[in-house]
């Protein structure tokens, strides 16, 4: 059942992505000021939103694990974090490519770049901590606690670095600006590509969760065999 869901989700995401790529590269015109490079926004912004959605979902799953003690929440939290970190890296790399063309440099210590890098480091620490603990319940308990501390910190990191320095372009989505900063056709495509990327992320999470669950079952069988 789950395999079919993964295949269906991946197939719909692939079709939607193909449709989006056609429109992004062949239908939508170049942006007036930036030229062709602006198209990176269709991957850059959805990757960031997907990553943050993932980090928030991890927080919820971590709290649910600490309340219930059900290891399925832990497997899901680990998978969602992994996928979240991947999309955070996609966001950073696409941002750097854009910055090289527009700003002439690969990296600047701007608020959002720095904040995203800190988020990647916090959640990479979470993934490294998981690898350092062998016992499943201890791993689940400690990584759930770290995830809660990490998410609380993400909010403070974004606020503090924003005060510290910023040169990143202002938000463009009309839900944040009230409209007028982006062409409606481009914004429509942004949302459509967000949907495609979110579906890809969901398919990846389902695949990783299955692997995590199987790894835990194999580990418990191995422990049982060693104990016998």
């Amino acid at each position: 059942m789950r395999e079919r869901l993964v295949i269906a989700l991946a197939a719909i995401a692939a079709l939607l992505l193909a449709y989006n790529l056609y429109h992004i590269f062949l239908v939508l015109p170049d942006e007036a000021a930036q030229g062709a490079i602006y198209r990176i926004i269709f991957f850059h912004v959805p990757a960031a939103i997907t990553a943050f959605t993932g980090f928030f979902v991890t927080l919820v799953l971590s709290i649910m694990y600490l309340i219930s003690g059900n290891l399925r929440y832990d497997s899901l939290a680990a998978s969602v974090t992994e996928v979240g970190v991947v999309f955070a890296c996609v966001n950073l790399v696409t941002g750097m490519i854009w910055a090289r063309i527009i700003w002439g440099i690969w990296w600047t210590w701007d608020a959002r770049l720095t904040s995203m890098l800190v988020c990647v480091l916090i959640y990479s620490g979470y993934l490294m901590l998981r690898r350092a603990i062998d016992e499943p319940t201890q791993r689940a308990r400690l990584s759930a606690a770290l995830s809660i501390f990490g998410f609380a910190d993400v909010i403070l990191v974004w606020k503090s670095i924003q005060w510290f320095r910023t040169q990143h372009p202002s938000p463009v989505l009309s839900i944040r600006t009230g409209g007028g900063n982006i062409d409606p056709a481009m914004e429509h495509m942004l949302y459509l590509n967000f949907l495609a990327i979110l579906m890809i992320a969901a398919a990846l999470v389902l695949v990783r969760t299955r692997q995590e669950t199987m790894a835990r079952e194999i580990d418990s069988l191995r422990r049982l065999a060693n104990a016998a």
């Binding site: 600490l66 809660i148 501390f149 609380a152 606020k159 503090s160």
Partner: protein, 226 residues
């Protein structure tokens, strides 16, 4: 009230042990002096630019030398299964964590006082111009480092790779606190008045301390009890 008394007795125990052995304090002070020495090779100690970045250098020294203190807080309890004994005693996990954080806090303030004096001498820095505000910044930032140091010291105490994991986990989380502390300390070293914008950093330090102390107390059992 009872929990606070329990925390105080844990802090008193840790401070007594530390004063008798001085194992982490001596190492932390020596490490901070070594770092200050290394900075003198990386930057020209007489140049104005070094004094401009003095606040940042100093907080890097506090944070890195502090690691030697909070790393030992729970590791000290491993021989003879002392941690298990503490956890099976009537002391609550939250009190244990709070007591450990309090002991780290006192040691960290002591380390900061010594580093400030050494830094002032080596780099000709006039750090005493605004002593009360500087003390307040040090207290607020050190409490944040202490409570997170205690939490992550407890979180990694039973890991094989604890010495590797602790800095990887704690420093990204300390970033907002360190930015705020550096911004405020820099203004105080320059003896400039604190603008409303800079007072935001003070508020950030308070929020950081409150949020992470509350989380630490709420999650103490999940972190400590196996």
């Amino acid at each position: 009230m009872r929990s606070l008394l329990q925390a105080l007795s844990i802090a008193r125990k840790d401070l007594t042990v530390e004063l008798r052995t001085k194992e982490s304090l001596n190492a932390a002070i020596a490490f901070s002096v070594v770092m200050l020495l290394l900075f003198s090779f990386a930057f020209d100690p007489a140049a104005d630019v070094t004094r401009e970045i003095a606040a940042g250098l100093l907080w890097i020294v506090f944070a890195f030398s502090g690691a030697l203190i909070f790393n030992r807080a729970f590791v000290r309890e491993l021989p003879n299964d002392c941690l298990d004994v503490l956890l099976s005693s009537p002391i609550s996990p939250a009190s244990l964590l709070l007591g450990k954080a309090a002991a780290i806090f006192v040691l960290l303030l002591f380390l900061e006082a010594i580093s400030l004096v050494v830094f002032g001498v080596f780099y000709n820095l006039r750090w005493w111009l605004r002593p009360i505000e500087l003390a307040l910044v040090c207290i607020l930032a050190s409490w944040g480092i202490s409570i997170l140091g205690a939490v992550f010291g407890a979180l990694t105490v039973n890991l094989r790779l604890r010495e590797l994991m602790l800095p990887v986990i704690i420093y990204p989380i300390l970033i907002p606190l360190l930015i705020a502390a550096v911004e405020l300390t820099d203004t105080l070293f320059r003896n400039q008045p604190l603008s409303p914008d800079q007072l935001l950093w003070g508020r950030l330090l308070v929020v950081f301390d409150v949020v992470f102390t509350a989380l630490a107390l709420a999650l103490a059992e999940a972190i400590l009890v196996n």
